[in-house]
């Protein structure tokens, strides 16, 4: 049946070449099993598609056009009168948000991207957590638990280059959440971490 089924479906879907089609039709006349399988499949498909349009409540179609016109008019009126009242506050909010985001980004963007690239691509989470972050002013664990609950796993900048399985590590490993503290480090701490990471990474490369 399985071989027949494939053949029949190829025939129905028009995937056979002209020659194959002629051979199939000849076989269909001669082979009882193929004919039975073909009829069964046709029956099943016909059962699903016997009627294309069912009888419906005609009131729906009678009311469709007025409803469409209502929506068209509403849109026209919106753009004519109402739009400005809705769009002005929305546009202002967007501008304020953009300014805020741009402003926030510049505070940590300079060293952060390079540092994060080093961390993500060259060092293990455990290593970073044990050797670098714990010596700093902010305790990463406290920070993660108390202040940053909603931001877990979302601190990876979109322009960060992920060369290996670092992304999986970041998402899968809870320790990875500690990277979120990087953006909150003071300039001095950031500098310290960066120096240490640079020397460790070059030592690793030399080895």
């Amino acid at each position: 049946m399985k071989t027949n089924k494939e053949k029949i479906l190829k025939y129905i879907s028009g995937q056979l070449t002209n020659e194959e089609q002629i051979i199939f039709e000849e076989e269909l006349k001669k082979t009882d099993q193929l004919k039975t399988d073909y009829d069964n499949i046709k029956l099943q498909l016909d059962d699903l598609s016997t009627r294309k349009e069912f009888e419906t409540n005609e009131i729906y179609f009678a009311n469709l056009l007025p409803r469409v016109y209502q929506r068209i008019d509403k849109k026209k009126k919106f753009w004519k009168f109402g739009g400005i009242y809705y769009l002005t506050p929305t546009a202002s909010a967007v501008v304020v948000l953009l300014l805020f985001l741009l402003n926030t980004k510049t505070n940590y963007d300079t060293g952060y991207k390079d540092l994060a690239n080093e961390v993500v691509n060259n060092l293990s989470d455990q290593e970073v957590s044990d050797k670098y972050l714990t010596e700093l002013e902010i305790d990463p664990t406290d920070y993660v638990l108390n202040q940053n609950k909603d931001e877990l796993n979302v601190q990876i900048p979109s322009d960060l280059e992920l060369n290996n399985d670092s992304y999986t590590r970041l998402i899968g490993n809870p320790l990875a959440n500690e990277y979120s503290t990087l953006r909150n480090l003071s300039e001095n701490d950031l500098e310290t971490v960066y120096e240490k990471l640079n020397s460790t990474t070059s030592q690793k490369v030399q080895k």
């Binding site: 129905i12 879907s13 995937q15 499949i41 699903l48 419906t56 056009l65």
Partner: protein
Amino acid sequence: MGTVQDNDFELINRFLSGEEVAFNLIVKKYQKKIYWHARQMMGNHLDADEVTQEVLIVIYNKLKNFNFNSSLYTWIYKIVTTRSLNQIRRKQIKRFFSIDDNEEVELQDKHDIIEEMDVKEKLEKVKKILEKIPPKQRQIFIMRNFEDLSYEEISEITGKSIGGLKANYFHALKKVLELTNENK
């Protein structure tokens, strides 16, 4: 087909010259086809209604850009298929974030325009099968089985190659048959 196309072109020209009644005639002519394609794709009345209205609004707004290279029927079909697929995507995203869909199911039952029980049951059966196959396979299955469209017509509507469409239809048929046997 030629006369149908001529009539359609005449209706479009009348609409473009400011006769709104020509738009009404276009709607009357195609509304059921639009609705039933959307209904089979979406599987329920409320979504089909939303798609149908959206499509009619698009037709109203974009008819001025109609270039007379294809038939109106093909042009409308392009809009319906695109809108239906978009609505499915929207629903999938919504479903991903929502916890409970029971309320929506009840709402859809209340608003259905099908009154006969046996028709409702039949549609439900078809829906249960179609919702389990990928939207693009569902689309070609509907166009071939319910709307009797040729591969050439479907290719013009979807912009896909005929070979690709045949392969898609083959997989759709295979899945539909498997699901039909499972549901027996």
